[in-house]
Assembly symmetry: C2
């Protein structure tokens, strides 16, 4: 495909959001896994609802509120300090097994992260993982419009000073592929769990089951 | 509150979407319940994604695609005829136990349904249940913008020739309450399953656990 720029989603694509479960487990024994799942679900629900109702709130706030909602739903107790501590785990997410190798394979290419997370969430995460020489970040917070809204992808394109057809967008999230593909980016769907393709009609240019093999495509 | 107009969501609020499970059960024994749940989930997912990406598709099409996606995910077989037959069940949903009584209690008041469903879905459903003397329908399809987008509620308001403060909006769906409340309608959340209130910050004016008691509020 020979795209000029390879643009990556962050959460679930380069970094595993469910690695917060270890921190959750410290406070809620035996429930780390389920809290981490519900937390992600609520975070996305709030992000989409915020975009749909056109009442923007930054992703760090929605991530905190999503955690509170998950704990509410599970009937667990918490206070502000606990929420702060667990939120910190989002800045210390672990990458997937192959993330670093693949980013290194692509080190001669132009790459960037484009995420709904704020710069204040993304940059500490990149530093925590020692990736600051490998990749930089663009946040949808810059335009206060969340992916998968077209305005968000358009903003990333402007920040990169690139044309639509120059960008190869990589995400594990089907909703993100839907948005990017319908906006006009070339896309690679990292389908880690072998989910069926959406019936909505958009198609990724390519599917992979991990980031491996991206260097040959991009 | 003495609103001039009581505006109802349809699916899940006046009519029970999970009553399609009986028809699903005829074709997929023992799986009617889970298909009906996943179908609703996928229908909403597609509706929101369609709105988020600004690629409008009418709700009847999204309802069909949502059913296909549910069956895909469950590894079940189907053909076009099967999808047509099951989709028909959406025009024959059963109302909740109290729906008819409450609509009759409100018969001296101005009421309407405002739904993401198309007129072609809503009007047969109203007729099927013999409610045509009790309530009429407005569809977000008229403006090709789905609830909970502000443009959708604005359209309903214009169709009713009413001011924001004249409208009391009733829904079982918290995302719908979020949209209506942030747009500026007075709202009643029919919280049938005693869900916790969202952390997003909007507040319904009133919560009820069924439609009963609405006549006293509205």
């Amino acid at each position: 495909m020979s795209a000029k720029i390879i643009l990556f989603d962050a959460y679930g694509t380069l970094f595993d959001v469910y690695t917060v479960k270890e921190k959750c487990e410290e406070f809620y024994e035996g429930k780390g896994e389920s809290i981490s799942r519900l937390w992600r679900e609520k975070q996305l629900e709030y992000c989409f609802l915020s975009q749909l109702t056109q009442k923007y709130e930054p992703f760090d706030q929605l991530t905190r509120k999503g955690l509170q909602a998950a704990l509410d739903q599970m009937g667990e107790n918490y206070d502000t300090e606990r929420i702060d501590t667990l939120f910190k785990a989002y800045e210390q997410l672990q990458p997937f097994e192959e993330t670093e190798t693949v980013l290194k394979q692509l080190s001669g290419r132009k790459t960037a992260i484009f995420s709904n997370g704020t710069k204040g969430m993304l940059d500490p995460l990149i530093r925590h993982n020692g990736f600051e020489e490998l990749i930089g970040s663009i946040s949808a917070d810059g335009i206060r419009q969340y992916k998968p809204a077209p305005a968000a992808y358009s903003y990333a394109m402007e920040k990169l000073g690139a044309a639509k057809e120059d960008i190869l967008f990589v995400s594990c999230n089907q909703w993100d592929i839907a948005g990017a593909a319908s906006f006009g980016f070339k896309t690679v769907w990292i389908n880690r769990k072998e989910e069926p393709l959406s019936r909505l009609g958009f198609k990724p240019h390519k599917q992979l089951n991990s980031l491996e093999g991206l260097a040959e495509i991009g």
